[in-house]
């Protein structure tokens, strides 16, 4: 099965600290994309960061970075200097290079403590 697994249903972090959210995936495709989306209580899906599978360099967006281990099919998200506004549900997703469809993980709820 072409699945995406987030093994941490809930995580918490102290404000200004660093937290890492885990994600593993399974695919037989060679051309695919990986994403982290944030969903706050407003339910809007917000793109946090993306990674093309053919790129070896890990993507970085300000305080957000990924650790992409292609052979291990692992794609973790690191949030540095956590802020109260980072509290949300985070979804890892794999995008098919053939069809464009996204397969989502189960989500990780992140709590940020002041």
């Amino acid at each position: 099965a072409q699945t995406v697994t987030q093994s941490q249903p809930e995580m918490s972090v102290q404000e200004a600290e660093t937290v890492t959210l885990s994600c593993t995936y399974d695919t037989s495709e060679s051309d695919y994309y990986l994403f982290w989306y944030k969903q706050p209580p407003s339910r809007q899906m917000i793109l946090v960061i993306r990674q093309e599978a053919y790129k070896q360099q890990n993507a970085t967006e300000n305080r957000f970075s990924v650790n992409f281990q292609k052979a291990a099919k692992s794609f973790s998200l690191k949030i540095s200097d956590s802020q109260l506004g980072d509290a949300a549900m985070y979804f890892c997703a794999r995008g098919s290079g053939n069809t464009g469809k996204l397969i989502f993980g189960q989500g990780t709820t992140l709590q940020v403590k002041p």
């Binding site: 051309d31 809007q44 899906m45 093309e52 979804f91 098919s96 069809t99 464009g100």
Partner: protein, 114 residues
């Protein structure tokens, strides 16, 4: 504003009714999608259209019928609504081919069937 807009944002209806959710994007994207987020927050693709052509139909009951009058619009019509149809439905769009990092989601429609 450039965006993916869905209407209505909330929909409460009785079992057995027929309802539609509308989606429009002004981003010039070729591909549009419908995703369903269930009560456990799990997101799964339902349909995908590329320039008005159906690309993906993921084992969705026949009561769900997408319609794409043009590449900027993808509507979802649901017949004979059931309690299990209660969920949040997201419309999304993306550029075609390899630029799948450009997914943009609408704000979602919360459907409640009573």
């Amino acid at each position: 504003d450039t965006a993916v807009s869905q209407t209505p944002k909330y929909l409460v209806t009785q079992m057995g009714n027929d309802k539609s959710i509308k989606c429009e994007q002004n981003l010039g994207h070729d591909t549009m999608y419908w995703y369903k987020q269930d009560s456990k927050k799990f997101l799964k693709i339902m349909f995908s259209y590329n320039n008005k052509e159906l690309i993906i139909n993921e084992t969705v009951p026949n009561r769900f019928s997408p319609k794409s009058p043009d590449k900027a619009h993808l509507n979802l019509h649901i017949n004979s609504l059931e309690l299990g149809d209660s969920a949040v439905y997201f419309c999304a769009s993306s550029p075609r081919d390899r630029e799948y990092g450009g997914y943009t989601f609408g704000s979602g429609t919360r459907l409640t069937v009573v």
